[in-house]
């Protein structure tokens, strides 16, 4: 197995993403608008609570968390559900299947280029801006290494979920509704829109055992933890690793079933 096969797809993805300069600008503006809404929404929540600390988080804590979550979203979000759904509906999947690379890897590596571009164009600038504005509220130390590790696994889990949902489109023959449902479930249960600390206890207990929190909550927790210890880092990372393996296997299984459907009934 040569890595070159895959890295060439990353390279193509980077070049491709750089072709669409305008879309990057539009995305930054969109994110900015979203952040303004978030700012005023949480300002109102804190004002009505009457205390400075709600659920163990100050207003600044919450805001930093949500800004970074948005930046992470801008970097990790992919549209694999659309891609797979459309490829299946239009029959383009036939051409993808005839590449000498397994489709799951093919699609992932095709997306990897946009990860790289989005990391440098969305996440990094936001991260630096947050660091500068908050004067060191974001710790810069070993936590960055754990964060990097965690993000890689988060990307893989996120991709696997997207991929699984994408293959379901093969059976439902519709993409839009399923995609919206997936987005809402993932964004809510992963802690991307509301920090998990604000969830009711029982729900938080359940969410903790679901794969979604490994996508946003886990890396952000590791990033914002200034004094990482083995006891605080290891459970988070091992939980992610567990889901990484499980979701990858699951997506392989789903793909196998879909492939059977495609090769037997022509999709």
């Amino acid at each position: 197995m040569s890595l070159r096969k895959y890295l060439t797809l990353t390279r193509a993805g980077i070049i491709e993403a750089l072709q669409f300069r305008l879309s990057a600008v539009v995305m930054v503006i969109g994110n900015l608008l979203y952040l303004i809404v978030v700012y005023f929404l949480w300002k109102a929540i804190y004002a009505s609570a009457g205390t400075d600390i709600v659920n163990g988080m100050t207003f600044a804590d919450t805001l930093i968390y949500l800004v970074l979550a948005t930046a992470l979203y801008g970097f990790m979000e992919m549209y694999a559900v659309w891609e797979i759904g459309r490829a299946i509906q239009s029959g383009k999947i036939v051409l993808d299947l005839l590449k000498p690379i397994e489709y799951r890897s093919y699609l992932f590596w095709s997306y990897s280029g946009s990860f790289v571009v989005n990391f440098f164009s969305t996440f990094l600038p936001t991260f630096i801006a947050v660091c500068l504005v908050t004067h060191g509220a974001v710790p810069l130390g070993f936590n960055l290494i754990y964060f990097a590790l965690s993000v890689v696994m988060a990307v893989i889990i996120n991709y696997s979920i997207d991929f699984i949902v994408g293959t379901i489109c093969l059976f439902t023959e519709s993409i839009w509704g399923i995609n919206i449902m997936k987005q809402v479930v993932v964004l809510l249960l992963s802690g991307a829109t509301i920090p998990l600390a604000f969830f009711p206890d029982t729900l938080r207990g359940i969410v903790y055992y679901l794969p979604f929190q490994s996508i946003y909550n886990a890396p952000l927790t590791l990033l914002l933890n200034g004094s990482p210890t083995v006891q605080s880092v290891l459970p988070v990372l091992s939980m992610q690793l567990f889901w990484c393996i499980v979701m990858t296997l699951l997506s392989k299984l789903f793909w196998k079933a879909s492939l059977r459907q495609i090769t037997v009934n022509g999709g």
Partner: protein, 333 residues
């Protein structure tokens, strides 16, 4: 020489839900288990030798694409056996992919937003093509067509003809043993068609690549294929060389005559008198397809002269196109 593609008694069936009409019917369909089986390919066998160009013909919906998809490994045959250069395609799809190239006329495998040369570079890495082979291939391409202006043009800005040409070049890039071309000249102008035919012919000669070509354009067949296979409704109708085709279907000639009055009405009149000939009319001519084994053209002409005032006439030898049309319409007797 051994066969590079072996197809033995291959059948492909699809299960299709019996859809009902109207709102009530659609609601009932949600819970329906009422499937019917459609046989797209019915007991087909053929062997293809290394280096052949085979024209694979049939009317729309005959099962051509289904057969091609089975040969590429995207579809699994319901029964029967397919071997493509020693592989069972659907079992070793990834391995098989190294050996084959595919062009589906309606879609592109190229990277839409990137210049063609980038697509070639990606394919080079994906197919693990060595630098020497890659450079050699580009040189060959350069000698066959003027690709330099295409190489630096993003695929989305290309005309359909340029894109198809590029797609064909991409399919041959990793020097596959077999290339499947599914309607490669669809929607192209005359000069582009000619260019593409020359290119396919040259690549087949130089690289000894086996080509399976489906098309509705008899120009493609006449220019490229020595052998054709015709299927309809999933069944194989004909598998032999193009020369034989004309003889096999008797000595057909087309008699074209010009008469006074409404040509459509006159044609219907003629058809009544000549039940064993196919008669059609266009704006200028009435064409009568005559099988000379049954009836001489001169007899037909004499007969027609009795009843019609013929102003002008032409005699045409049968074209492949007409034979194929006849097979599509009537099948093989």
């Amino acid at each position: 020489m051994s066969a590079i593609i072996e197809i033995k008694n291959v059948t492909k069936e699809f299960k299709v839900l019996n859809r009902r009409e109207g709102l009530k019917g659609s609601l009932m369909d949600l819970f329906s288990r009422d499937y019917k089986t459609v046989r797209a390919v019915d007991n087909i066998s053929m062997n293809v030798e290394q280096g052949e160009i085979v024209g694979y013909l049939g009317p729309n919906g005959a099962g051509k694409s289904t057969t091609i998809k089975m040969m590429t490994g995207v579809l699994k045959p319901t029964s029967g056996e397919i071997l493509v250069s020693g592989n069972v395609p659907y079992q070793n799809r990834t391995q098989n992919a190294q050996q084959i190239g595919v062009v589906f006329g309606q879609r592109t495998q190229l990277w839409w937003a990137l210049p063609l040369i980038e697509s070639f570079r990606i394919l080079k890495d994906i197919y693990c093509i060595s630098d020497a082979d890659y450079d050699g291939m580009l040189e060959l391409y350069q000698s066959l067509v003027d690709i330099e202006p295409l190489l630096h043009k993003p695929v989305r800005q290309m005309s359909l003809g340029q894109r198809t040409l590029s797609d064909i070049l991409a399919a041959f890039l990793h020097n596959p043993k077999i290339v499947f071309l599914d309607e490669p000249t669809i929607g192209l102008d005359v000069s582009m068609k000619a260019k593409i035919r020359t290119l396919i012919h040259a690549l087949n000669q130089q690289k000894k690549t086996t080509v399976i070509l489906t098309t509705h354009d008899m120009g493609d067949v006449d220019a490229l294929c020595r052998r054709i296979v015709i299927i309809d409704k999933g069944k194989m109708l004909y598998d032999n060389d193009t020369e034989h085709l004309k003889r096999f279907f008797g000595a057909y000639r087309t008699l074209k005559i010009r008469v006074g009055g409404n040509l459509k009405e006159q044609a219907a009149e003629i058809e009544k008198r000549l039940p064993d000939c196919a008669v059609s009319a266009d704006d200028e001519w009435i064409s009568v397809l005559v099988n000379e084994e049954k009836r001489k053209v001169m007899d037909v002409l004499t007969q027609l002269q009795k009843d019609f005032r013929i102003r002008d006439m032409q005699l045409e030898e049968i074209a492949t196109e007409d034979v194929i049309k006849k097979i599509y319409e009537e099948g093989v007797e």
